[in-house]
Amino acid sequence: METKSRPTETILNVDQVHKTYQDVRSLFRKSALTITALNRVSLEIKRGEVFGLVGASGSGKTTLARLVLKLEEFEAGSIRFNETEIRNLKGKDLKAFRRKVQLIPQDPYQSLNPYLSIHDTLLEPLSIHKIGSRDTRTKIISQSLEAAGLNPAEDFFTRYPHQLSGGQRQRAAIARALVLKPEFMIADEPTSMLDASISFNIFRLLIKIQKSQKVTFLFITHDLAAARFFCDRIAVIYQGDIVESGTTEKVIQDPKSEYTRALIRAQPKFSFAKTTRPT
């Protein structure tokens, strides 16, 4: 990890972002229950790095990803991507932003439209952004599929999501994120629905993509070990608050907050000394 060059330019700046969800059940009592999903969260991601956001379920990490992707609005604060505030992006500017930021989704079973073949799924971003001619599009699609480890690409063109395995679907979703050649990718627990050996392959694939395409990654996970494996810097989020951030090694070797220490303690370890099961 130390061998990597220190990047300096900021690609994403999240500043004091506040997001609450209101439970509006009754007509007369307007907000019976207000849930603070993100409590004045700030973080900064440098170009070219892999930034990990670690937290338990319900801690607000997916909410943050949705805000950065402009899938939801937020109440206060600002999110700047390449020095541009994304809150008021509309029309052409929003489209340009969409081209640069892509998502690798959590659930490979739900994130592909069952009625579109893999070819059509990957073609869609290209036709939305009017990239290339017919032939170059086909070429880009093949390249993306192969980069995501679906070889040979042509075999997958006419397949539908239900004809793929979980790992293949996740690779197809990664290939879709790649067709636009984004600057910034958000991977929202990309392996949480896959089993361990496939997860490992997906991680290796993401590292390969990060190295070869110089993409900046925001990697969201609940797994500290995965974050250590993959990230340059991490932030730990707990109930909507960032409790700790810094380089991965520093956070893990010398945790400042009680929650991070609890997370580290909770990591399962193999112990070869243990031979009998306690009764």
Binding site: L69, L71, Q102, P105, D107, S111, N113, Y115, A173
Partner: protein
């Protein structure tokens, strides 16, 4: 070169694949054959008047017949009380049933699907407005309203009846499509489309429409049946288009001339035809649903 050709014929390939899936389905095959039989009847309806003006379903009268007669070599299904050929009436009835059923159902599907998708996708105020409007139309007793309209304006043209049926029958479809749209809207692949930069129009027509289409088609078959039944009911009650022969009209003539229990050869064919044509549309719908929904398909062998 071969690849380019394969890509060009991709649509054709998809169609053939869908067709073979449909044909493997027993229910679909029975429905299709029944429907083909009725289609054949509808086509054949043009023939009898050409043979002899006596066989014209409305104006043709056999000069030798003075009361309803049972089947005979000259009149294969018999005649009605003024000597008109029942077979040619039945054949023309098939034509009218197709016309009324398919156009009314298609129109109500277009209205219902569009309004349902817009309401479900837009949400909030537009959703409430459209759905309350749908509720208002849904609670209107459509048969009664059409009866009132036709008693106000005299006998209605068949096309006006079709329009009225479709205008009264879209809310049910709109509700179903809206409910589906609401659940689809929450699915991650819609978010993925937004991340890719898709416009609302693209999301609605490229991502939501194909997902609701099987349901819409299934409801179209229901609407075909209900449109045929409403038209038959109107005609039976004497409010049909007097210039056309429909199966409902034939039933009305049986009833009005007091042959209900005297002439089974006159009463049964239109009744059976109404039941069978509605059944065949329903069976077709079920089979089509299976073809259009890839998740219902069996995984095929790939080489």
């Amino acid at each position: 070169m071969l690849k380019a050709l394969a890509r060009k014929s991709h649509t054709l390939e998809r169609f053939l694949e869908g067709w073979s899936l449909f044909y493997e389905n027993t229910v679909g095959r029975i429905g299709l054959f029944l429907l083909l039989f009725f289609a054949l009847m509808a086509v054949c309806s043009y023939i009898p008047p050409l043979i002899d003006p006596m066989y014209h379903p409305m104006t043709g009268v056999d000069p030798e017949v003075f009361r309803s007669t049972p089947p005979s070599p000259t009149h294969w299904l018999g005649t009605d009380n003024i000597g008109r050929d029942l077979l040619s009436q039945l054949l023309t009835g098939a034509r009218i049933a197709f016309l009324v059923g398919i156009t009314a159902a298609f129109m109500s599907i277009v209205f219902g699907t569009l309004i349902g998708m817009i309401a479900g996708y837009a949400g909030k105020v537009l959703d409430s407005l459209l759905m309350r409007f749908a509720d208002m139309i849904m609670v209107m007793p459509s048969l009664l309203v059409v009866l009132l309209l036709s008693s106000l304006f005299g006998q209605l043209n068949i096309w006006i009846i079709v329009l009225l049926i479709s205008l009264f029958r879209w809310p049910g479809i709109a509700r179903v499509i809206r409910a589906q749209t609401l659940s689809l809207k929450q699915r991650p692949f819609i978010d993925m489309a937004r991340v890719a930069g898709a416009s609302h129009l693209r999301i609605v027509f490229r991502h939501i429409l194909p997902n609701v289409l099987p349901m819409a088609l299934l409801y179209m078959t229901f609407r075909v049946t209900s449109a045929i039944i409403v038209e038959a009911a109107l005609a039976f009650l004497g409010f049909g288009d007097p210039n056309t022969v429909s199966w409902g009209m034939m039933l009305q003539w049986v009833w009005k001339t007091g042959h209900m229990f005297q002439a089974p050869y006159w009463l049964l064919p239109p009744g059976i035809c109404i039941s069978l044509i509605t059944l065949s549309f329903y069976m077709m719908g079920r089979a089509m649903e299976e073809v259009l929904d890839p998740r219902l398909r069996k995984e095929e062998q790939r080489i």
